[in-house]
């Protein structure tokens, strides 16, 4: 009981809170950065001109590679690469960059799948109405692709939150690292990691629920 109470000392609680906020910030950066970059990559891959062919090929290779390398390896690669370039980035920045890189690859694929799910007739119809490529995307394709893109996107955003736990390996003081510090201080590991698990859960479960809700709403709208 006394050891259990030690977890809730002022210092420990602030450590946990700081870790929680760092994890939250990392997740937010990863979700937003990954979403914007992934969306841009998917849009670029819808282009048809020959000038853009190398870009499309590069994006294809990028998406295939990054989704087949463990996040830990990507993280370490970015970490050591920035170190050997003598760019003294803080570890938080390194973790943010890695998370954005990997989230862009996954969310880009999800978005591309959504855009491709819209029937080719829609492209032809818009073309017949003299829409430009961007107008077609803006007014015809994206509004329809949205409902295919959103459900798996929420699923992946939960993954982003969970992946941030690996940032503790390069020394970012996020939730998992805070747990390790407390564990080393002698607070029982069951208690520490139980609390950490609950804190992660409190972050990702609402997002997962929101995703389920959106999915149901979209499915209902489609059945009309």
């Amino acid at each position: 009981m006394i050891r259990a109470a030690a977890l809730f000392s002022y210092y420990d609680l602030t450590l946990l809170l700081e870790g929680f906020l760092t994890t939250f910030a990392l997740s937010l950066i990863g979700c937003l950065g990954g979403f914007v970059l992934g969306f841009a990559a998917a849009i670029l891959r819808t282009t048809r001109s020959r000038v853009m062919a190398p870009v499309r090929a590069a994006l294809f290779v990028y998406a295939m590679f990054l989704r087949r390398v463990p996040f830990l390896v990507t993280l370490m690669l970015v970490f050591y690469a920035t170190q050997s370039l003598h760019a003294n980035l803080p570890t938080f920045a390194v973790a943010s960059i890695s998370i954005c890189l990997i989230a862009a690859a996954y969310l880009g694929e999800i978005t591309r799948g959504g855009l491709e799910s819209v029937h080719a007739n829609q492209w032809q119809g818009a073309r017949a109405l003299n829409f430009s490529h961007w107008q077609t995307l803006r007014y015809v394709i994206v509004p329809q692709a949205w409902r295919v893109i959103l459900p798996p996107t929420f699923g992946f955003l939960v993954m982003v939150i969970k992946d941030t736990a690996l940032a503790s390996q390069i020394g970012v003081m996020e939730l998992t690292a805070a747990g390790k510090v407390l564990g080393n201080k002698g607070v029982p590991a069951v208690l520490v990691y139980g609390a950490i698990l609950m804190l992660y859960f409190s972050m990702s479960y609402p997002l997962a629920r929101l995703g389920k809700h959106v999915e149901r709403r979209l499915a209902a709208a489609r059945n009309h």
């Binding site: 390398v69 463990p70 996040f71 830990l72 370490m76 590991a189």
Partner: protein, 222 residues
């Protein structure tokens, strides 16, 4: 900065051995998680209400918390109640615990995709219960489940890189060792990344091929 891949590539048997261990952990975890997932999916459908709620809680908990922290909990928490796990066992249990929840979701969705009318049609045609399972339900379920299951296998394979954090010398662990010995960490991790890509690509190809032959499942390789 100049990249020197020579000293790393010289160690290719060491790295490929690590890759084999990664794959082995993934196969073991997946093989253990499959029956767990199947049992949980069956309980979600047919179990008593209390059991259903328990399984649902397990799935929600395991899919919404990081695998790394789950393994930390096993590795550092269980010794406090007298259970000491080797790093390999802790990682394996953690990966199985995590994969079991995802496989439960996949298998539940797979079984839910069988329509009531398909079974009724088979009954009308005079199929026995076993025949319905053998000729109607299983082919349908296997075709529907195969692509997400093989995707999940790739996810499990990538997840085994966490084992390096606990000192298991699989591919990530060994490239970390090489990086520390030669001071060529970028190159070591770069080679590891390429091996991971090759390994999962081969796995996807094998799975896609066998899926097409056995389950008539259509899968994209890239």
């Amino acid at each position: 900065m100049t990249l020197q891949f020579g000293p790393i590539l010289e160690q290719w048997p060491y790295l490929l051995g690590g890759a084999a261990l990664s794959l082995w952990i993934a196969v073991l975890a997946f093989a253990c998680a499959m029956p767990i997932g199947l049992l949980c999916a069956a309980l979600l459908h047919y179990g008593p209400p209390a059991m259903r709620r328990l399984v649902a809680a397990y799935v929600i908990f395991a899919t919404n918390t990081p695998q790394l922290v789950q393994i930390f909990f096993l590795f550092f928490g269980l010794p406090e109640v007298g259970i000491i796990l080797s790093p390999f066992t802790a990682v394996l249990i953690g990966a199985t615990f995590n994969a079991g929840a995802y496989l439960c979701e996949i298998q539940r969705a797979g079984f839910a995709s069988v329509r009531r009318t398909e079974i009724e049609a088979a009954e009308v045609l005079g199929f026995s219960r076993l025949q319905i399972i053998r000729h109607v339900i299983l082919p349908h379920v296997m075709k529907a489940m195969f692509p997400p299951l093989s995707n999940q296998f790739i996810v499990v394979t990538l997840g085994t890189s966490m084992a390096s954090i606990f000192g298991v010398e699989e591919l990530t662990g060994r490239s970390d060792n090489l990086g520390a010995e030669t001071y060529l960490s970028v190159e070591a991790y770069g080679v590891a990344a390429v091996i991971y890509v090759a390994m999962t690509l081969i796995a996807t190809c094998v799975l896609a091929l066998s899926g097409r032959l056995v389950c008539r499942a259509k899968m994209n390789i890239v």
